[in-house]
Symmetry: D2
């Protein structure tokens, strides 16, 4: 068994980690921190934890609901850091010094360039030296590097959805640099702190766009798509011309990204058909346990509570555009599930351990 701590356990991603870890056969949570709840027991914050049962096939509880929330994480094999950016980096520095492996769910180590970070997050990067060590934890891209690092930057939820949708096309050079990503997300992505925007009577029966002045997930998407293009031998000369607009829809979970790109013609002026694209995507992800190419537009509901991502590419022949629809659960593959996927790799465990569950439907 490996011991893990959760830093800032009162967030939604932490709560989802707790849920998923109750099903994990190798991780055991021995330490939880939470600034506003120090001294309380876990079950006092989350009464549903009364229901934690020892699984009949093991002796130890993955989570003890009586666990007392502390100010600082105890010594464990690994820590999941669920703090907001800046605070997360501070915490990571201290954990790494104590030899604790870190999966950071904040944005602090996602951007490779400290200047880009400063531009988007409006403060100096708190630990630029660690940017070399940190591995961007999109396992589908970097699993080998994740296995050997001690610090993983868990990707953002919009980012994961979009990158998985576009990487096969960008990395093989079948599309041009004009890209539009239109994303719809559930409201849990906004976190657990109440505000008027997320107040039920405001958010229910409402759709809206946000982040139109520039959303922080955009540079992360650009960074990873350009890196994939480069790695695939199809570098983007003047950079991607990428617009990303997220939208809120009245649901708790789920992200659905609809991505638009120009298909390039081959020498005969021909573009790929939908069937060819689908077959090519299927091949690209053939060994990926959590990525599924489907034959009809996917529904976020298919992923409710699971670590899976469903992708549907189709060609708009009239305009020669590639459209790719991609969806996942923002709190699982977009946060806590992917964090466990990374933790499994960091600890030398099978990548899918504890994550084989299906989504809830209906």
């Amino acid at each position: 068994m490996r011991t893990v701590s959760i830093v800032n356990v009162t967030s939604y991603t932490a709560l989802e980690l707790l849920r998923l870890l109750t099903q994990h056969p190798e991780f055991i949570v021995t330490s939880v921190t939470g600034r506003s709840a120090v001294g309380k027991r876990l079950e006092n914050i989350f009464p549903q934890l009364h229901a934690v049962l020892p699984s009949p096939d093991r002796n130890v509880l993955a989570i003890d609901p009586a666990l007392v929330i502390t100010d600082e994480a105890e010594q464990t094999d690994l820590a999941f850091v669920c703090l907001p950016h800046a605070a997360a980096a501070e915490s990571a520095i201290s954990l790494l010094k104590r030899g604790i492996k870190v999966v950071d769910l904040s944005a602090d180590f996602r951007l490779r360039d400290a200047n880009v970070y400063e531009e988007w997050y409006k403060h100096k990067h708190p630990a630029p030296a660690l940017l070399e060590t940190a591995v961007y934890g999109l396992c589908e891209r970097y699993r080998e590097r994740v296995r050997t690092t001690s610090l993983v930057a868990n990707p953002g939820c919009h980012t994961t959805t979009s990158i998985l949708a576009l990487i096969p096309a960008v990395a093989t050079g079948i599309v041009g640099p004009n890209i539009i990503i239109n994303s719809i997300t559930g409201i849990s992505g906004g976190g657990r702190t109440p505000s008027l925007s997320y107040h039920y009577p405001e958010a229910n029966e409402d759709a809206s766009a946000y982040g139109l002045e520039g959303h922080r997930h955009m540079p992360e998407i650009v960074q990873e798509l350009e890196a994939a293009a480069e790695a695939g031998g199809h570098p983007v000369k003047d950079g991607l011309r990428l617009t990303f607009v997220p939208h809120l829809a009245p649901m708790t979970r789920g992200i659905l990204a609809t991505c638009y790109a120009d298909l390039l013609e081959d020498e005969q002026g021909r573009i790929l058909t939908s069937e060819e694209i689908r077959s090519f995507y299927r091949q690209y992800y053939t060994n990926e346990p959590f990525v599924h190419i489907v034959e009809q537009p996917p529904h976020t509901k298919w992923t409710y509570g699971s670590n899976h991502c469903f992708i549907y590419p189709i060609v708009d022949r009239r305009t020669k555009r590639l459209i790719v629809v991609s969806c996942l659960d923002n709190l699982v593959k977009g946060a806590a599930g992917q964090a466990i996927q990374n933790a499994n790799l960091l600890c030398g465990l099978p990548e899918t351990m504890g994550l084989a569950g299906l989504g809830m439907n209906p």
Copy 2:
């Protein structure tokens, strides 16, 4: 035209007043106050007010979106007070002194007994002298008295739903004193201030009971039902034995009360049939424009945005119980619509003026 002011315009009941008043041919809003928003224009707080149009059949806007929010209400014919209890009474005192008629949407003047008020609201009543003047603004009961007062206590939303459901039975002595009221309400009833309970990801896909230690609408219901029994010549000897439990359901608007009472047998040991009860209820409310006895269980959706109340009485023959299901829109007949109904009476206008609209469906 009559001028009206809205005191504390940033609440949901005030916002609903604004919406309904745009359709009212006689009231014109000339003053709005709001503690946290002084100096701002109405349309800056509620951007949807950009859409206020002059109705083609009148020259003046019922609401000017450019109206500046002030600290204290200007001189008007009538004021709608949307402040929390205690603050509301203070405001009412001052408005009445200036000769302004008041519809108070808080609980401050609903309970006739200052001691009961103190017991439930945990502070001394701020204006006990006004309790004599104040009329409980359930028009179906007290419309004649409303016409001649200057201070109306607008009833609570749970209260209106329950009282309208039970008054015909209680006032005519066909049921005994054992009463259970089980109410389901939408989340706008909790107001516009964000909190974890009303945070979308918490409230969505969730049902729960609340107020089990005693809800403040209970004494109001008991007071009015006992008064109706007394007035109907069937006083309740030892008082009603009434339990009231409200529940939250994941919807923005709507209240549905399911009320249970024991049917009394007549001298032949006979109880009324469902048809008899329904016909009797229909007769009881025959002249009421906003109360409708229906032949099937009603849906809160039928009342979405309207001032109507639908009531369905039925007899459970096996247990000799009367069950009455009643529903309305908590922000309209349960708050702002009823307030306008009262304001119409206070100003000598037709009671239904500005309130004839249907609910939105779907």
Copy 3:
């Protein structure tokens, strides 16, 4: 007073017409048809109609809930046809012959070219001769022509949202031909016939894209944008390269379109700023009662139940793209409200009559 009939009253657009007509001072519904409900009274199909009240300022009911549903429309001044396509055209032919003005809410007379109609609707156009007479009922574009015709093709909901968003840019030639429209719609747009896709447990907590093989509103959008470009003196040489992808979100009402286009540089290589675009849009729509340019991303909730459309244009400087977010209530400005707007014009009434109401919020 003008008499109107509603053909196929059991649809959602018809039900919304009923609601809006109760607030209309000049129209009176004297005939309703409905294939599956012949012989029933209106209030038996829609129990909420029990609540129809005579407005205190007029003597006649705009709708009599006891109205009996017939097979064929009686003689009236005007008919709202709410039938599916093909059936709608048949009905329109017969109504026009009898001298009844027609607002057709189906797609039958929206496309000017019978061949395009046949391509998208997979059957021969049932009344190609009427295509000359029919006026596309987007009042913001064609109000003068609507005043003088007898047959109005009421625009689709996605279409209205998108066209209003893009016309100012397309008609003045500030954008190029590359356009992507990403739309999110509530589920009432799918109609009142139950199906697995719209079954509550399937549709709730779910987002998905649809119509990816080509949605029928697309040619309508292209037709109207190209016509506007032409009319504005900026014809699109090789036609627009327009992709339109609608999405379903778990809400009853509301459409939000996010539109992307390439801003053209002026001779100095300069593109417009967001402020310039906004000011230009505001000017473009300055006399439009139902179109509002706002300073922040609009919410569908602002339009809940109203005939208003909110538009927010913004420039993505990094990519030189114009983004326009536009929203409205699909059943009002996207259907029944716009139909009444057209009916007002057809009958020589003020265009906003009966439509001045605000949206419900929350």
Copy 4:
């Protein structure tokens, strides 16, 4: 490993069985039937099954998405019958003859008296002889008998919620015979067949009561509570006077029952306090893995996707009534989860096997 079949796999309870069985270490689904889908592969009916992964700690898939749906169940150790009543009994007869253990999720074997069955289900019981064999599968009551039978009648969802709430009080004689159960349920309880009532635009933003003429879960609740009273040595002389009214709320899953009963006074005229009741309930369920007595009103959301039931008893001192609020997930503890709990017992496995997961929150 034990092989299991699912009879009528296209229902929601069957789909939930599939989800839960992917997490079960001992059951393997080798046969699925479905009248309308014979010959199709499972993944064609439920595309989300593409995501089924072999759990890293076992070699065999609990569910093979390529499994072909047949007309009749293959030979397996156990069958979950998800057919509607009547059809379910026919299927059970045939399965039992072939030596297959049966968990029947329909109502066919829940009522012990074939006459009561006929009264409520309006047809002769299809297999009255089996009523002797059948065990009512509320494990908290009958787990020893379940272990030794071959036919389990899986309880209804409303029933489980209500019985668990009331058994401790009824079995120990602390309450009188007057009982009211007011239940709120999510819409998945109505099944997977589309209908106008469950059409999203109708069901969303709506609350309503149903089954007021008498709901079929009522006799089941009465039977089990009276049996518990009898078994506890406190038989109810003239039978319970029980009224049960279910309500629909706009959510996919979850049942919350609020139960009201009269507390009996002891010889000193004293009634129990809330604390005493809570402590007594806690003791009563002390060894139950899935029943939790909590210190605050529980939320259906705490049980979303889990097999747990949360119960909150409280005393209304003013009226001397006991109020018990109880909730669970109607598709898990109210259907598929409880079915697996029963299947575990039938097969000699630990009762909680495959069911230790927490609910999803948020």
